[in-house]
């Protein structure tokens, strides 16, 4: 009996060791770091314990800029990408020919390297002394003025970032919603048709309620994912995001930790905890709202 007990733990041992060192210990440590004031990573000493790190971060203009960027990004991309994914999935589900082909094409961005394809978006949108760039060509054709989307005005940069983010996150959402739509009981639709229900009413009274759990799942993961945006911004604007004014909260954490402005694990920890608190409260709000509206 004793040997049997031991064996179970032995099989678990590698997982427990790795999780212990790289998940559980850091989780405690990050709170310790965030409370140590004036931590010096070279001498590993600190002056005192308190909330100074949080106050520093909350007064840092770079952090406030990062929060603003992240919130704008979240508010634009989450509803837009979910809505667009719903439209695309509805269209996909209403056809039979070529459905697999379209599905495969739409999923392609999921497997691409965010950094690498971001470069393509950069050259598509960039305007330099040598070239107008592809997108400006389109804008000109429709009678607009050329804009530099990469080094130009704030709204233009935000537009590219949102556009690229949506391009990157849509494959996942389309995939989930397409399979959710396909699994709705066809009898419900047939019954509604016999009753002569209008398509709009069918959509509102049958389709949406039946797939509402999946929509909410996507909204929640979408919020979490968008709040953690970082590599898309790096791909478009380069590693010095503060200079571009396009930093995100996660970017701020990493900049504080490492790089030209790095070496402040305490500030990084405080910022990471603030991010975690924001994400956690929004997820809780989402769950509360979903309890009211989602039909399981």
């Amino acid at each position: 009996m004793k040997r049997k007990e031991l064996k179970g733990w032995l099989y678990l041992l590698p997982a427990i060791i790795f999780l212990g060192i790289f998940m559980v210990y850091p989780l405690i440590d990050v709170f310790v770091y965030s409370l140590e004031e004036g931590y010096n990573s070279a001498s590993q000493t600190y002056f005192g314990v308190g909330m100074y790190n949080f106050s520093y971060v909350l007064h840092d203009t770079y952090f406030l800029q990062a929060v603003k960027n992240t919130i704008i990004l979240v508010l634009i991309t989450v509803p837009l990408s979910t809505g667009l994914a719903l439209l695309i999935s509805l269209a996909l589900n209403s056809i039979e020919k070529l459905k697999d082909l379209f599905q495969t094409i739409y999923f392609l961005p999921y497997v691409t390297n965010t950094l690498a394809v971001g470069l393509v978006f950069m050259i598509l949108f960039k305007k330099t002394a040598y070239t107008e760039g592809m997108i400006n060509l389109l804008i000109n054709r429709f009678g607009g003025e050329s804009i530099d989307f990469i080094d130009g005005p704030y709204w233009a940069k935000m537009f590219v970032l949102c556009f690229y983010t949506i391009w990157v996150v849509l494959p996942f959402k389309v995939l989930i919603l397409t399979s959710a739509l396909a699994s709705v009981d066809q009898n419900l639709y047939n019954a509604a048709k016999v009753d002569g229900t209008s398509p709009f009413r069918i959509f509102y009274k049958i389709t949406i309620p039946m797939i509402s759990p999946m929509i909410f799942y996507l909204v929640i993961t979408g919020f979490i994912g968008a709040f953690k945006a970082y590599s898309d911004a790096v791909a478009l604007f380069g590693t010095d995001l503060n200079a571009a004014g396009m930093n995100t909260i996660v970017g701020y954490v990493y900049d504080m930790l490492y790089g030209n402005s790095g070496g402040y694990p305490s500030y990084a920890s405080a910022a990471a905890i603030i991010l975690f608190a924001i994400v956690l409260s929004i997820t809780c709000i989402n769950l509360l709202v979903s309890k009211k509206h989602v039909h399981y």
Partner: protein, 291 residues
């Protein structure tokens, strides 16, 4: 007579309406497919334009009549792209292989072995799934630095060897294999290890393949951790390599060569996707996330 005509009329309008709806739906789908595919087309197109012809195009052209492979030669000679690719292959294979060992053993313990505290530990593991990477990366960075493992493969690999989510996925799959099989094997005197490798793993092969592919994609695209842990270009992975090429290599303006590098980096995963797209899409819809 009149009624017959009416039916025909109604059928005709219905058919026409269906046709119009189909045309609309297909054109919307084609439009989005174009938006998805266009960046890929553009990167291949730019990569086969010569530097001279690219720079002289103030208004970019949608095709080229003089394709060149010079850019592809450049990315392998002027910048160490081959080195980045090699590093990424080593990192991806080592991480995936080690992770498979760790998660298989853990999933086996959780699903088939009985010992006190098992369910409690499993609940603890599940709770860890909610911890975002951003929260633990700071200490991990300090840990790896203290162990003098910066700019080493071990430093890159160690933190991503376990994945609670994949343990969970595999445990659910192992649990579906009837316990009778395990008991019968025990009666026959088969050792646990032998049972695991000869019975459980072959039965659950589809799930293991899915996990492997998802992990390979994740490793190939990982950027944040490698960036923190390596500043020596000899150990860069492709994501950091492409960033390095963009900021310091080949000159900022040599966009065609940069695009050639992007194509080279993207091709392995696109091939993997084309071969396994059914498996990948099925695996992701079972609970993969991105971001």
């Amino acid at each position: 007579m009149d009624q017959n005509l009416d039916y025909e009329k109604i059928e005709k309008t219905a058919a026409r309406r269906r046709k119009i709806k189909n045309i609309l739906v297909y054109s919307a789908l084609v439009l989005w497919a174009l938006i998805v595919l266009f960046p890929f087309y553009w990167m291949v197109l730019t990569s086969i334009k010569s530097y001279g012809s690219y720079s002289s195009e103030y208004i970019p052209k949608f095709f080229t009549l003089q394709p060149t492979i010079q850019n592809y030669i450049d990315v392998f000679t002027a910048v160490p792209l081959l080195k980045y690719l090699g590093n990424t292959v080593i990192f991806t294979l080592a991480t995936t292989a080690l992770m498979l060992i760790v998660i298989t053993f853990a999933a086996f313990a959780f699903s088939k072995l009985e010992f006190r505290g098992r369910d409690l530990v499993f609940a603890g593991f599940l709770a860890l799934m909610m911890i975002p990477n951003e929260l633990v990366v700071i200490t991990n960075f300090v840990t790896i630095t203290n162990w003098n493992m910066r700019n080493t493969f071990w430093g890159l690999i160690l933190p991503s060897i376990t994945s609670v989510f994949y343990i969970y996925l595999l445990k659910e799959n192992f649990a579906q294999v009837p316990d009778e099989l395990y008991k019968a094997a025990k009666v026959d005197g088969t050792s646990d290890l032998k049972f695991l490798f000869k019975v459980l793993i072959p039965i659950c092969r589809p799930t293991i393949v899915t996990v492997t592919i998802l992990k390979i994609i994740e490793c190939w695209n990982s950027y944040v951790w490698p960036r923190l842990i390596t500043d020596d270009a000899a150990l860069f992975l492709v994501s950091n390599g492409i960033q390095e090429i963009r900021e310091n290599g080949m000159g900022r303006e040599n966009i065609p060569a940069m695009m050639a590098a992007v194509v080279v980096i993207s091709i392995p995963l696109i091939i993997l996707f084309l071969i396994f797209h059914k498996k990948i899409m099925e695996g992701v819809s079972r609970g993969g996330t991105k971001g």
